[in-house]
Symmetry: C2
Subunit: 233 residues, 2 copies
């Protein structure tokens, strides 16, 4: 499709634009945004199914409804695209992570975090698989994210958890072992979806069943760390 045609398809609507941004350039930016978004979504699903090496740019492009050459126009290399998928996933993970607040009530904080992580596994299982796959294969393409972004987050939560233990609101657990258990258990429902389907039947993953399982997982983890609601003053 030519730029001229796009112009006629999308007439006004740029009334609020800055004067120096011409309508044509704006339209091109929209095309770029849309195509990049499609490619990123397609890439997430292909990388989840095949892994980085197994995924082909041809399949990613095809699933996004574009010729392969266009993929390389937007993302110069397969690795560039992969990195963008990982960074995007981290942002989502990070938003979920911040629901684990430092409130005085560990039952609410941990329970809320587990529910959010379960919801994320439900909402974006493909992304979780890409993430898991990358780590299993050595995390070579995201070590910087782990060290510069995930580790600082974890260190602050370790302080919070140790604080709860000191106050007697939690059993004396190893905070890292607790966090690993939460991650492993919640992400299992995304990453091991195929196994769960084979063992428990597809019904196990229905909306209703997943909500019940979520509460089961919350209960187990709250018990696992011996969380107590703080006494009212």
């Amino acid at each position: 499709m030519r730029d001229e045609e796009l112009q006629t398809v999308l007439p006004a609507a740029e009334a609020n634009d800055k004067a120096e941004v011409r309508p044509l350039r704006r339209r091109k930016a929209q095309i770029r945004e849309s195509n990049e978004a499609h490619l990123l979504a397609s890439a997430e699903s292909v990388f989840a199914e095949k892994g980085f090496d197994g995924a082909s740019t041809a399949m990613i492009a095809e699933r996004a409804g574009l010729p392969k050459a266009n993929l390389h126009y937007y993302f110069p290399t397969k690795l560039t695209l992969y990195r963008r998928v990982l960074e995007d996933l981290f942002e989502d993970w990070h938003k979920a992570a911040n629901t684990f607040d430092a409130s005085a009530d560990p039952v609410a904080a941990i329970g809320g975090y587990v529910r959010t992580k379960m919801a994320l596994s439900r909402r974006r299982p493909l992304g979780s698989k890409v993430w898991a796959n990358e780590i299993t294969h050595g995390a070579t393409h995201m070590r910087d994210i782990l060290v510069e972004r995930v580790k600082p987050w974890m260190d602050t939560r370790i302080v919070v958890i140790n604080g709860w233990i000191t106050q007697g609101l939690l059993a004396p657990v190893d905070p890292q072992a607790l966090l690993f258990m939460i991650w492993a258990t919640t992400q299992h429902y995304a990453d091991f979806e195929a196994q769960i389907k084979a063992l428990a039947g597809p019904r196990k993953l229905s909306q209703q069943a997943f909500a019940e399982t979520t509460e089961q997982v919350v209960d187990m983890i709250i018990r696992a760390c011996g969380a107590r609601t703080p006494p009212r003053d």
Copy 2:
């Protein structure tokens, strides 16, 4: 190396063989066994690092110290080799799984199973990664193992767990959710090794630290399902 040479290298030692098995054939069988074993070990490590699609038969052969053509002599296709690795892994998993017995004491049974699974993650992390990778990518090459071997095992354990719940020795947990939590948490220490190293430091995975972590995990899971030692009669 020629068969004649091998004959001279290995002189007697076949005294106990059946008469109809000639020494030369026996020696060939030993070569086959040794080469297959090397290839299987090498394949496990390459599949763990790169996944099925990412792994190349050239790299597997090289790591086993053989030319690529020899790999195809022992294993006609890459998929054949992969299947053998998966079947071998299942046998190991199955041995570990049977430490989860139906004893009257859930603390001993569950605790013992968790320790065995942690030991397996420690002893054979590459295998765990291959397994995880296969499931993440849809378990297409091992659905039969899941359905015919793992599921029957799981179903018997569900009965055992429900029995404990009925006796009041366990909180009323969903047995499947409990098993998934045990698998996810214990296998996390193998599959997410790279993340653990990046977040907790390599020291976290020392012999000593791992033993302590194992006990932490056992304690958390025992608490998670509210296991109680049965009263003495």
